[in-house]
Assembly symmetry: C2
DNA sequence: AACTATACGGAGATACTCTCCGTTTAGCAA
DNA sequence: TTGCTAAACGGAGAGTATCTCCGTATAGTT
């Protein structure tokens, strides 16, 4: 990649991250990002063919954060319930970090063609590691995809309804108790 | 209302119901509805100032169906778990009847200004009746709003991911077990 | 039959994603 | 330094949404 192209790409990602964090996915237009980065719309679309692929680029660093969170939860010296709830809470918080993202990422969970496919794999693997780690404490037959969708659904509702962050706790508690072995 | 206006309104609702059912909320444009009903866009917007208010008009008959479903579930001669699961399944099915509706209705649950406010009240009251009916079988402190959001979230994920209908069952089972008293 | 309040409907304002293509420039080679 | 070419740029605009304005037509009444 040519040096000017790399510079523009970096600046676009940086500007877009700020905009998305401040206003949410839907409320940010591509023209706005282009203008903010000092490039034309054509340049923006050369680097990121869709708005979602731009968003995907912003989430690059999430993979590490997700893996760190599941490690931290599993390593806790606490009951399975507390460890599970810790992870679900962190996971949900990461999903709602950018407004509008939770619903999109969760909807892409089963779609290998989505621009978010790599992120979804990361989430699924994290939940699989949780299942392996908590082992027999969970109800038999529970799948990583189910956990991902359940928590993604709750996070999406909290996000789109613009609820206070603490309203997610009782709902995650219900999900966690449902996930634990009877 | 003048007779011609009433006729147009009825025809718009009828045409729109068919379109929404066939293609889902997002994939139907207002121009398309207007054309299908043989009126101009101006006429359509005179009757329904937003696309969501048009959608709300289509859901008129849902209130009865929701109440009938919760009655039916509560009247079952079965365990609290089965009755709860029956209701959650019916409720989820009603939410996903039109593609794109579950997420919108669920997002509007806490917003009195939404065009869906009346429908949301119906849902909330139905879940409250469920809580009253199942009484001590449920975990203490659970609220109708929480059930509505949990099931709405699951339904929205299933809807937007276009999953097969039976994939909702294991997730609702987890939610149901989480809702039952420990 | 005339009158008026109401309804109609289409052109168009606005906003958005995304594309096409003529112009400019970075990086390299002689 | 100069010239060349592949790559990148950027803006006009295509296409598609929702929703509005306002001149025209008509239903229902006097």
């Amino acid at each position: 990649m040519r040096a000017d192209a790399q510079r523009n790409r970096d600046r676009i990602v940086e500007v877009a991250r700020g905009f998305f964090r401040a206003k949410g996915f839907d409320a940010v237009s591509m023209d706005e990002v282009a203008k903010g980065a000092g490039v034309g719309p054509g340049t923006l679309y050369r680097h990121f063919p869709t708005k979602e692929s731009l968003y995907d680029a912003i989430l690059e660093s999430w993979a590490e954060k997700v893996n760190a969170a599941v490690d931290r939860a599993l390593a806790l010296d606490a009951s399975a319930r507390v460890r599970l709830l810790t992870w679900l809470t962190d996971y949900s918080a990461m999903l709602t970090e950018h407004k509008g993202a939770a619903a999109r990422i969760t909807a892409a969970l089963g779609d290998p063609g989505s621009p978010f496919a790599a992120k979804c794999q990361t989430y699924l693997r994290a939940n699989q590691r949780l299942i392996d780690g908590l082992d027999s404490a969970l109800r038999p037959g529970v799948e990583a995809m189910q956990i991902s969708r359940l928590v993604g659904g709750v996070a999406a509702v909290v996000d789109t309804s613009e609820l206070p962050a603490d309203s997610v706790a009782p709902m995650l508690a219900i999900v966690a108790d449902g996930l634990l072995a009877p």
